[in-house]
Amino acid sequence: MDIDASEGSSVAAWQCVDVIDNAHKRTVRSVAFEPTQGRTLATASFDGTTAIWEKGDETYECVATLEGHDNEAKCVAWAASGQLLATCGRDKSVWIWESNGEGDFDCVSVLMEHTQDVKMVLWHPKQELLVSFSYDDTIRVWREDDDDWVSAATITGHKSTVWGGAFSPQGDYLASVSDDRTVRVWTQHTAGNAAAAGSDDGFYYRPDTTYKCVAVVPDSVHTRAIYSVSWASSPPTSGDAGGSSTALADLGYLATGCGDNSLRVFGVARQAEESTSGDLDVVLVCTQENAHGLSDINCVQWNPVYPGWLATSGDDGIIRIWHLDAMT
């Protein structure tokens, strides 16, 4: 595999098309586009508030401000339906908001089960299920129960702050990354029926469900804390009748952004059929050292539409766009 840092052969450049001023009184911490229409943007800030902006004819206008966190809001995330929003913060809480369809948001739930600050929240791609990652070394899974939200499970295993995670494209696995320098992949484990693991319902909560770890990237691979992870399907290879590259990564590619200044890409595959454990193989396929010079990489995200393209941001103040080339 090869990554080359170029925009491809087209020389089109990115331009700034909109600027939102005075988003918050203090630094913005997290931004997210609403996924179904892309006309709304949420920004979460150090000042604890989350602002909702809508794109009008000319520019973005603030249509709502969500207040509630005691101190800085660390992350904001939209559910796939576009109707629910989650925020989390240093006050150890996770808040869930619902859009009432007219640009206003009602607070549906305030979840206080984490014992330390919550770094990131993430929605399941298909179901209304929320996952949060925390300084208390745990991952919590939240579900709706009769109009309220409750903790469905606590996933432990990481030995230090869990910075974030990503679902597999179909939503049947969750990858998480941590200060303990490991990447862990989790899935549901229904007691007594190993074959059901990773079945249709994927990650979905059921009363007898627990979660188990099916893969670990050991702490020898990343040499510092891992801050971000993104998971995408393998790009379809043109004209290739499913050669060895697709077998190597039939569940797609994980990209990680690390405090050791490197960008890494891993192929994820189910193990050979003889194994019934449901475990996965996570294999490093390429590394870009000093992807942002001598700076931490704090965020990675695969392009949701174009397979093989990846964006990263680093402490060097630069956002880079990468293309993953499959070498034949």
């Binding site: 080359d4 990115w14 630094t27 913005v28 911490r29 943007l41 949701p304 397979p307 060097d316």
Partner: protein, 677 residues
């Protein structure tokens, strides 16, 4: 399974395209301060991936910062960045050429069957027609831009782009289509000259006009433009005009008698230049041409001896020397041609025209090589490089230059090349399929323009590859659906290209939207399209709850619309039948009403929570004057009640004991009555 080693790789920084935010987030070169101030950068990708939101973010938690840590204005700003949008001036061109592109794919598919793209099937003239349509569109765009009035820098650059695209396209057309007719050997030369004079016109018509205006006036002798103009005419094969001009110049007083004489002579020879035709055999043409060339040789020798004879005034006769140069060019002397040529195209054209008039396209690479050596290749523009690569049949390189000229060009020309069957050699050289790659890039650029989403999706679909289809599907799932009309258009596109996942997602999204806005019938229809029985059931439950709450059965029209679509669902059946029951009851047709009610209960389409209500509905019928339920029917009703009461409470909904005892009494009385009848 084999595992690949991890690879080191090289970052091609010179290929990197960089955009700086203005105003910047921090002063250049001071990144270490940036980190010390606890600032970093974060981003979010737009779902359509054509935009990214960028903001300054913090690293340390706010509590770790001292109160003195400054807050910067830039920190409060969110930048949204996108790819440069297609300029609106291009819209007519984009739409016109989209139509041609779609038509071309259509005829190739219709003609070729499994061997779509076979040259023979469609015929070169079919492709030639399409190619001409494309060129027409390019020329039209140039005209429209030129008529724009005061040209801005942008307009000037656009005109140049379109002229370059046309030049490239036209040359490809004449080499691979026009002169490539199977079974015929067609000379490239007249077509090359046509190409040259159309795309790189020389001399300019303004020059010509000025000179014509000055003929016959005193200023002819002072007109320093005249002889260069005449030489240019010769170089480019404009022999008729040349002859006219020479004849008009000849009588001028300023000319020496020798010059006048030879001017007339050359005019005559120029008029006699043989032109090939389809009727003439090549043998006959070649013979004529050789004779003509010999005559020019003689002319050249004669003038040469005059000039080098050393006699005055011929030795310093500038006009005579110019005439000599003209004749020398026309007899095909490479040095003379080289001296007069400003560009490699000039030289190539004149060499072909005057020394190899019957050459075919395969002669071009070797000739082009010689021409290019004479000119500073390092100063070549991208257009020059593209043209030279094409002449040298270096098609992969050609495509790369085309892409640098414009992404429209590389996408469409690689498609045409594919249909001509000359793209395969490129496939071996590039890591990806070039046609697919360039069309994907073009489709993407169209998709980022608000009004071109349909065109963009169409291009992606017409690529006909898995990659194109998957991008198209991802896109279709995320297109903003601002109105019902647009939603319908997108769904039609999904049907056309069989984007089932997208269709599913869109119907669900619309279903949820309509549900939230209370348009329940429409919501059910959408969920019905994707067979989401659970959602349909839930909405029906909601309709029933509303009925119970208000006491008014108003959902009739809502579900009628849905039933028409033919969805089979128990709840819908139930609601419909219940409505029918209601109607019968209202108009007093109690017997029919009773039959329907019984049917509902016995066919088990009623949801468990409704059974109690249904039984209560039976009470007036049991107690009415008419005997609606016979003994069997009454027994059935009683059985239902019994089943209901023996079930655990949650499943059967709330059961009002008072009402149930009234029901039981009514049943008993009715039973008694029925035995008497």
């Amino acid at each position: 399974m084999p595992r690949k080693k991890t690879d080191k790789f090289v970052v091609l920084r010179d290929n990197e395209v960089v955009t700086h935010l203005v105003p910047g987030l921090f002063p250049a070169g001071r990144q270490s301060e940036w980190t010390e101030q606890n600032r970093t950068i974060t981003f979010a990708l737009h779902p359509l991936s054509t935009r990214v939101a960028i903001a300054v973010a913090g690293k340390q938690p706010s509590e770790c910062l001292s109160k003195k840590t400054p807050v910067f204005e830039q920190d409060q700003v969110v930048h949204v960045c996108g790819m440069a949008a297609l300029p609106d001036e291009r819209l007519p061109f984009v739409n016109d050429t989209h139509a041609v592109f779609a038509a071309l794919q259509g005829i190739m598919e219709a003609a070729g069957g499994e061997a779509a793209g076979e040259l023979v099937a469609v015929g070169i003239d079919g492709l030639l027609r399409m190619s001409a349509l494309y060129r027409e569109a390019m020329l039209r765009q140039v005209r429209v831009l030129q008529e724009a009035g005061a040209p801005s820098e942008f307009i000037v650059s656009e005109i140049e782009t379109f002229q370059s695209m046309h030049a490239v396209w036209h040359l490809l057309e004449i080499i691979y289509l026009t002169t490539n007719m199977p079974g015929l050997s067609i000379s490239i030369v007249p077509h090359f000259m046509e190409w040259l004079n159309l795309n790189f016109p020389a001399p300019s018509s303004e020059d010509g006009q000025r000179i014509v205006d000055s003929l016959g006036t005193e200023s002819l002798a002072l007109n320093t433009d005249l002889w260069p103009y005449l030489k240019k005419l010769a170089l480019r094969g404009h022999v008729a005009t040349l002859a006219n001009m020479l004849e008009r110049v000849a009588p001028a007083q300023e000319l020496s008698s020798s010059a006048a004489r030879w001017a007339r002579d050359i005019a005559r020879v120029a008029r006699d230049m043989p032109l090939g035709s389809n009727e003439e055999t090549s043998g006959s043409f070649n013979a004529r041409w050789r004779r003509w060339n010999e005559e020019l040789q003689n002319t050249v020798s004669a003038i040469d001896s005059l000039i080098s004879g050393g006699k005055q005034p011929e030795a310093n006769d500038a006009e005579l020397e110019s005439l000599y140069a003209i004749a020398d060019v026309m007899r095909g002397n490479a040095d003379a041609i080289s001296a007069e040529s400003k560009s490699w195209q000039d030289m190539l054209g004149a060499i072909l025209l005057y020394s190899e008039p019957t050459s075919q396209a395969d002669r071009l690479p070797s000739l082009a090589g010689i021409m290019v050596e004479q000119f500073q290749a390092s100063e070549f523009s991208v257009l020059d490089r593209a043209l030279v690569a094409l002449l040298n049949h270096e098609l992969p390189e050609f495509l790369v230059y085309c892409n640098q000229i414009d992404t429209w060009l590389s996408a469409h020309i690689s498609d045409l090349m594919d249909h001509i069957s000359i793209l395969d050699m490129c496939r071996a050289t590039f890591a990806v399929d070039p046609r697919e790659h360039y069309l994907l890039a073009l489709g993407e650029s169209y998709l980022s323009h608000e009004n071109l989403w349909r065109v963009g999706l169409d291009y992606l679909g017409l690529i006909g590859s898995q990659a194109g289809n998957s991008v198209m599907e991802e896109y279709a799932m995320r297109i903003p659906l601002e109105s019902d009309t647009k939603a319908q258009q997108v769904l039609r596109m999904c049907d056309k290209f069989k984007l089932l996942r997208a269709k599913d997602r869109i119907h669900r999204q619309l279903g949820r939207q309509k549900w939230q806005r209370g348009r329940l019938g429409a919501a059910i229809s959408h969920f019905a399209q994707v067979s989401d029985r659970r959602a349909v059931g839930q909405i029906c439950d909601q309709l029933w709850d509303e009925y119970l709450a208000t006491g008014e059965l108003s959902y009739g029209p809502t579900i009628d619309g849905v039933m028409a679509s033919g969805l089979r669902h128990d709840r819908l059946q139930f609601l419909t039948k219940y409505r029918d029951f209601h109607e019968c009851y209202k108009v007093g047709e109690f017997a029919d009403a009773g039959k329907i009610l019984l049917h509902i209960l016995l066919s088990e389409i009623a949801p468990p929570y409704a059974i109690a209500d249904l039984l209560v509905d039976a009470i007036p019928l049991l107690e009415g004057d008419e005997l609606v339920f016979d003994s069997d029917a009454t027994f059935e009703l009683m059985r239902c009640a019994e089943t209901l009461l023996t079930q655990p409470p949650p499943a059967s909904g709330t059961v009002d004991q008072g009402e149930m005892s009234i029901f039981s009494v009514a049943c008993a009385r009715n039973l008694a009555r029925s035995f008497l009848v």
